[in-house]
């Protein structure tokens, strides 16, 4: 019903293209893992290795401690929920869901009962006799889930399962997927390029880029404490302020940037040497009004260039006094009055600033002014 997965040094090469480069990952039984990354990052290839549709060029994949090696998809304790759902168009929903059980020689009455139970779970019990083409996108997605779960796999693989749905339905299905996963306890490995979906749904997110794992961690960790510039920018809007690492004491580090030298609390040793290129990553919502309690630092004054209202906040573009060529994106409170030309103080909580290795490739889409 559920099983751990361990991927060791998996590499997949297509011709002269390396789709996966020495990937290692341990997934606990019953965990909801999301593989997140842009298209071409290798996430779908990794999923295909788990499902047995591709075999690794090198490295091993173990499910429940057993090497999957040459095990065919049919013999693996995994099932896949395909991106296009791949519901058999000539079968009723009941027959679709019961298909895997039929292949396992389960009797007709029993497999139909099981199929109806699963259709009930996804809220489609009354449609058991319908054909897939009579359903909406969200309903098809539910049937695909029921079909994949009907054979009680140890690991369920979901390939961009919500990609074809509109935004509102996608949010709703995220909640349902997560609830169903908690109920059945199966290990879910879910592939997506939507970082909001990943955060909403995952126990742990695996950020992938160019065939490698960039970052692994809980949604909070990945968002608040990204380990790389790629992760920081992929997980949401972020300001990158390039600088040079100057010095570290026991409790603080200092970074020289074009907005002056910034003193930050040292909470985690990242092995920076003095003179190394580093980048400060600051989320737009971390700029706060200068009032309030707690430690705070300032990056100087900045002029408001423009602003737009987003309901929960104002999103403003600012140009710092010390370095007007740079554009900073900041979220200002709902109640703030955003006047182009006004001056604001760039205050923030030093613990929310993340120091990353290297400088962002330029231009970075996230930090460039739209």
């Amino acid at each position: 019903m559920t099983a751990p997965v361990s991927i060791r040094n998996a590499t997949k090469i297509f011709g002269d293209f390396t789709a996966l480069d020495d990937i290692s990952l341990e997934i606990a039984a019953g965990e909801y893992i999301v593989l997140l990354g842009p298209s071409g990052c290798g996430k779908t290839t990794l999923l295909s290795l788990l499902g047995g549709f591709l075999s690794p060029s090198s490295g091993t994949i173990e499910i429940n401690g057993k090497d999957m090696g040459d095990v065919a998809p049919a013999k693996r304790p995994t099932t896949t929920m395909f991106q296009d759902y791949a519901l058999f168009p000539h079968m009723s929903l009941r027959d679709n869901v019961a298909f895997g059980l039929k292949m396992r020689k389960v009797g007709k009455a029993e497999r139909h009962a099981k199929a109806e139970e699963l259709l009930d779970m996804v809220g489609l019990k009354t449609s058991a006799n319908k054909k897939p083409h009579e359903l909406s996108g969200g309903q098809r997605q539910r049937v695909a889930l029921a079909r994949a779960l009907a054979v009680e796999p140890d690991v369920l693989l979901l390939d961009e399962p919500l990609g074809a749905l509109d935004l509102k339905l996608r949010r709703q299905m995220q909640d349902e997927l997560k609830a169903i996963q908690k109920r059945v306890g199966t290990t879910f490995v879910h592939v997506t390029h939507d970082q909001e979906e990943a955060m909403a749904i995952a126990d742990r997110i695996v950020v992938m880029n160019a065939g490698r794992i960039e970052d692994v961690g809980s949604p909070e960790n990945i968002y608040m404490q990204p380990k790389t510039i790629f992760t920081a920018s992929f997980m949401g809007e972020v300001n990158f302020i390039p600088g040079t690492f100057e010095s570290a004491t026991d409790s603080t580090i200092s970074v020289k940037t074009s907005l002056g030298t910034v003193e930050l609390p040292e909470f985690e040793c990242r092995g920076f040497a003095p003179g190394a290129s580093v980048t400060l990553a600051i989320r737009p919502e971390h700029f706060r009004a200068s009032t309030g309690t707690g430690p705070r630092i300032t990056l100087g004054k900045a002029k408001v260039e423009d602003g737009s209202f987003f309901g929960t906040h104002h999103r403003a573009h600012l140009s710092p006094l010390d370095y007007p060529n740079m554009t900073i994106t900041a979220h200002m409170p709902q109640s703030a009055i955003i006047e182009p030309g006004a001056w604001v103080e760039l205050t923030l909580d030093p613990t929310s600033v993340v120091v990353l290795h290297g400088h962002p490739p330029r231009p970075t889409p996230e930090s460039a002014a739209p």
Binding site: F53, A74, T79, F82, A86, F88, F99, V151
Partner: protein, 287 residues
């Protein structure tokens, strides 16, 4: 309203586009058909055709063995050809879709249908070259000493069936191939993922999903085969006559238009029945 609405005016324009084709179809297809149906109710007196408005010709068809036999010969040949063609074409389409490398598939298909583009009359004639008493097969076998007397290959039903199958294997390969490659690969992956073995994937998923392709091809085969005069005439000879041969006989030697029309209507009814049987696979959808 004083003036017609925009929609009405647009519709009037639309009729302008559709009407010429419609007139053509009515004038040269519907009306001739009605005329033929009417003639089938007439009788022949010498060289004159007299409108009798009765079903004597139809009754005669069921009473006279040589006429009725034409229909049965045609049906037997057509069913044999359709079944053999499907059985031969399916593996071919499958191999082209699955085994032949992608970039050669188009070439393989073009090659498979190349003889399609010889003249239809010439194609039957070429089979005659192969099957005739002094044809390629007989001459080769005699030369090799396998047989001493030439085999009776031409002017048999087997020759007709071979000639037809040759033609329809190409056609069915096309329709089945189109269906096979249109099928999203995930259907098969999903079935395999859910535990189906190779045969089960084929039986439960691939075959039902390619059934439309088979049926479209089989229907075309049926219609073209049962109405064809050339192949049975050239390859089958006059030993047993298929329905189209019987029809041509009425026209030629006897100039019996009413009976020819009657037989045509019967042929048409048979085709219509076949259409009704296959109708649910033959929907025309606009993409």
């Amino acid at each position: 309203m004083a003036t017609a609405s925009l929609e009405t005016r647009e519709n009037r324009r639309a009729w302008g586009f559709v009407t010429p084709a419609m007139l053509w179809t009515v004038a040269f297809f519907v009306i001739p058909f009605v005329v033929m149906a009417a003639i089938s109710l007439a009788t022949r007196k010498g060289r004159e055709i007299v409108m009798a408005w009765n079903f004597d010709n139809y009754i005669e068809f069921f009473e006279k063995a040589h006429l009725l036999k034409g229909l049965f010969v045609s049906l037997e040949i057509t069913f044999t050809v359709t079944i053999i063609s499907v059985i031969l074409a399916y593996p071919l389409a499958w191999i082209i879709a699955e085994r032949v490398p992608q970039k050669w598939q188009r070439m393989a298909l073009i090659m498979a249908i190349l003889p399609f583009w010889t003249s239809y009359v010439v194609r039957s004639y070429s089979w005659l070259l192969v099957l005739a008493q002094n044809g390629v097969i007989n001459n080769t076998l005699v030369y090799l000493g396998v047989i001493s007397e030439p085999l009776e290959l031409a002017s048999t039903r087997t020759a007709t069936v071979i000639g037809f199958v040759h033609f329809f294997v190409m056609l069915l390969t096309l329709t089945i191939y189109a269906n096979l490659v249109q099928m999203p690969p995930n259907y098969r992956r999903a079935a395999a993922d859910l535990g189906a073995n190779g045969f089960q994937v084929f039986w439960h998923v691939v075959l039902p999903l390619t059934l439309p392709g088979i049926m479209v091809g089989a229907f075309l085969t049926f219609v073209l085969c049962i109405g064809d005069y050339i192949t049975p005439q050239i390859l089958g000879g006059n030993n047993e006559l298929a329905l189209p041969q019987v029809i041509m006989l009425q026209l030629g030697r006897r100039a019996d238009f009413p009976m020819a029309a009657t037989l045509s209507i019967i042929l048409m009814v048979v085709v219509t029945l076949a259409y009704i049987a296959c109708a649910r696979w033959l929907k025309m959808e606009r993409t």
